[in-house]
């Protein structure tokens, strides 16, 4: 751990809004998974999609703990 390179880390704010639903309503895990795995989102993330690190969750691995409409992710 003493040789960590001076990589720049960018933090991103991610927001998912379901149309016609109040903001405080929890997002269904299946829907969240579908959204994050959609071609449009993958295209937007570009090459970074394979190195993106979500707070406590990865793009391809979603559990029921993923229920908040807003996520903050960090990616290099």
């Amino acid at each position: 751990l003493h040789a960590i390179p001076p990589t720049t880390i960018y933090e991103y704010a991610i927001e998912i809004r379901v149309k016609g639903e109040p903001l405080e309503r929890k997002l269904k895990p299946e829907q969240a998974k579908e959204i994050l795995n959609s071609d449009e989102v993958k295209y937007g993330l570009g090459a970074a999609r394979d190195t993106f690190v979500y707070d406590r969750i990865s793009l391809f691995y979603l559990t029921n703990s993923f229920q908040d409409a807003n996520l903050h992710g960090a990616g290099s």
């Binding site: 751990l1 003493h2 960590i4 390179p5 001076p6 990589t7 720049t8 880390i9 960018y10 933090e11 991103y12 704010a13 991610i14 927001e15 998912i16 809004r17 379901v18 149309k19 016609g20 639903e21 269904k28 299946e30 829907q31 579908e34 959204i35 959609s38 449009e40 989102v41 937007g44 993330l45 570009g46 970074a48 690190v53 707070d55 406590r56 969750i57 990865s58 691995y61 559990t63 029921n64 703990s65 903050h72 960090a74 990616g75």
Partner: protein, 279 residues
């Protein structure tokens, strides 16, 4: 760097959604070496340490049972024999931190935690195990003392379950128990409009029979209430075993209530912690 973007997603299964991503902040991991070389204060390294904690948590959170920042395995060697309604599991707690003044370390500690016994099937099973009953009819409200009811009520709070009587699609929804009720399925009634449009009072037991064809075997047991104020008979509530992607298929629920003295003694014994005698 990913440019900001916003996309509208259309789905046949869900309402349309808008996904947006914006750059919030940026920092360099170089700050860590600066702190180690005493060229910067460790306070400024907090975002970098936070990021490394997330990074190092990624793999364990995918392959182990995550409870907060602790991770537990499914290996039988790490699971205690069932202790009534509980089982204990060994795991790890990990965090990245500065070690002394000249290095960074990944601190890994052994941790032991209590989970609901993963062999229990439904809430009747759970209740009978907690109260150590052999006969389910002893769970009828009229047979429960206030003390025993309170034991169940405290244990059930927040417990997650799912139901099967509404079909496979509904099984994926998880409910959390708000409280246990004295009322049973014959006593709890609500307004119900039948197919002819006529509204009348119906008991939970009759409703389950009329609508779902479920003749309750134990209609006199206490009901559980969820946040939506719906009442469910215990025999129709099944313990949630969170299904994750492979390789981990079953994730038992962490046990949230405070452990009683016997349970504490058992978990300490399992964790193999030997305390020195008090002087």
């Amino acid at each position: 760097l990913i440019p900001d973007f916003e996309v509208t997603l259309q789905s046949t299964s869900w309402k349309d959604a808008v996904f947006s991503l914006k750059v919030a902040t940026e920092f360099s991991l170089g700050i860590i070496n600066q702190v180690i070389q005493q060229k910067a204060d460790s306070v400024h390294a907090a975002p970098a340490l936070n990021f490394l904690n997330h990074l190092f948590a990624k793999r364990p959170s995918e392959t182990l049972i995550a409870v907060g920042r602790k991770y537990f395995s499914n290996l039988s060697a790490d699971i205690s024999p069932a202790f009534n309604e509980l089982e204990f599991r060994r795991g790890i707690f990990q965090s990245v931190l500065f070690s002394g003044s000249k290095s960074l370390a990944l601190n890994i500690n052994q941790s032991t935690a209590a989970f609901w016994n993963s062999n229990m099937v439904d809430l009747m099973h759970v209740a009978m195990t907690i109260l150590q009953l052999q006969n389910p009819t002893h769970l009828a409200s009229r047979n429960l003392t206030h003390e025993r009811f309170k034991v169940l009520k405290d244990a059930f709070k927040g417990l997650k379950f799912f139901i099967k009587h509404r079909g496979p699609e509904a099984e994926r929804r998880h409910y959390s128990i708000k409280r246990l009720l004295w009322m049973n399925a014959r006593e709890s009634k609500f307004d119900w409009t039948d197919q002819s449009g006529k509204t009348r009072q119906i008991s939970v037991a009759e409703f389950m029979h009329k609508v779902y064809g479920k003749q309750l075997r134990y209609p006199l047991t206490p009901l559980v209430e969820i946040n939506g104020k719906a009442h469910f008979p215990m025999e129709l509530c099944f313990m949630v075993r969170v299904c994750l992607s492979p390789p981990l298929l079953i994730q038992p629920q962490a046990y949230r209530p405070t452990l009683n003295p016997k349970q504490r003694e058992a978990i300490i014994k399992f964790a193999n912690i030997v305390y020195p005698p008090l002087m």
